[in-house]
Symmetry: C2
DNA sequence: TTCCATAGTGAGTGATTACTCACTTTACAA
DNA sequence: TTGTAAAGTGAGTAATCACTCACTATGGAA
């Protein structure tokens, strides 16, 4: 999967959302709701059609198969979640000395992804569920993660290790600990305990503190 | 859900495994394999019967419905994963001063659960997938977690906070950060990157170090 | 040997599945 | 106004679904 494909996906996704027929939009909306509620496999196309208020045939006019409908929903999300997770401008900031340290980087990152998850929990639930069973999605996810997140992240961690700001753990361990703490927070906040009385700002501060102290020399 | 139910479950589970008919064992084995591969909803009872080498009717002789078969697999696992996650004897150790600090407790905990996950990845994948869609399972999980893990864990964290070993974050934050770091490690190790060339002992040490430094005063 | 409960069977059930296709409606350019 | 491509329809289809039931096989107690 080349860089071009990824860009095309984003463009396609962006453009498509404006080119959508009203009925097509209703279909996507209904599908997202039901996939999140009962899962892809146990949602039937007839149910989707009913909730969308369209004929069942209309679904297959726009999507050749049920699976194609799933991928139309899920594929753009994989890109949108992974890519800005560690977007290019973060790395630029770092090397242009616009960012003072790993902590400020972390703060940008976590705030940025917090807002994104907040607005896309439903869609991300579907991704999380379905990635497990579709190899195509796994490979898509892996290559996007490798090319857009991992490479930049590695550079950055090395940079801060050389500056003596963080421990000399293997780069992969630093990344693993950082990301799994952040994702652990987001999953707890929005999926496991969304109804708990969260003080988001303080909890984010504690999470950043925890990572920084954990990695500090 | 009372303590009795939980104990009964464990006993039932334990006893059942010995009381199982050969064919019933084959059914469970086949079901576990296929649920993990393709998911519960997209595995048919006829496929299970075929792989188990039994007639489809035999499945329904032992399990009234397909869902009952799923629960027979998943329910004991929820208990087995959650309960020893923070079992009674850990807490005893702590208050009997048999354990010197949070770090040793952590080390016991992480080693213990590491071995368990290693031997039960397949089953835990199914649990992870299906808990999302079955409220009965969610409630079962929540009550077991609350009664067997959370209460003991809260006591212990308070204890170490009073001794001045760990930060005065809200107890829930300490627990969340600890557990999500551990689970983050286990998920990365066994589900996301099981084929990576892991140095388990060192990675466990780093994970413990990370948590300790992150929480230390 | 006889009896009986339990285990196992597989053809059969109606409901539901993803998907098709011949058709109608809509929107817009010529 | 007419022509045409795309959007939308819903009855129809073969396949598959979870589950039933009348039946046979098995193994141990009386």
């Amino acid at each position: 999967m080349s860089d071009n494909d990824i860009v095309n996906d984003l463009l396609q996704a962006g453009e498509l959302e404006d080119q959508l027929t009203p009925k097509q939009r209703q279909i996507l909306q209904a599908a997202v709701e039901m996939f999140a509620e009962k899962g892809y496999a146990s949602t039937s196309t007839s149910e989707i059609a009913k909730r969308a208020g369209v004929a069942e045939g209309t679904i297959f006019r726009h999507y050749k198969t049920k699976k194609e409908l799933l991928f139309a929903i899920v594929s753009p999300m994989i890109t949108k979640f992974a890519v800005p997770f560690f977007a290019q401008h973060f790395v630029k900031q770092v090397f242009d000395r616009e960012v003072s340290g790993y902590e400020e980087l972390l703060r940008n990152l976590i705030h940025n992804r917090f807002e994104f998850v907040k607005e896309n929990v439903t869609l991300l639930k579907i991704v999380l569920q379905e990635v497990a069973f579709h190899e195509e999605l796994q490979e898509r996810y892996k290559s996007i993660f490798r090319e857009n997140v991992l490479e930049s992240f590695e550079e950055t961690v090395k940079h801060f290790q050389e500056k003596g700001q963080i421990k000399d753990y293997p780069v992969h361990s630093v990344i693993r600990l950082t990301i799994s703490t952040i994702i652990g927070f987001l999953v707890t906040r929005f999926i496991i305990m969304p109804d708990y009385d969260w003080d988001d700002e303080k909890e984010i501060d504690r999470t950043i503190d925890f990572i920084m102290n954990g990695l500090e020399k």
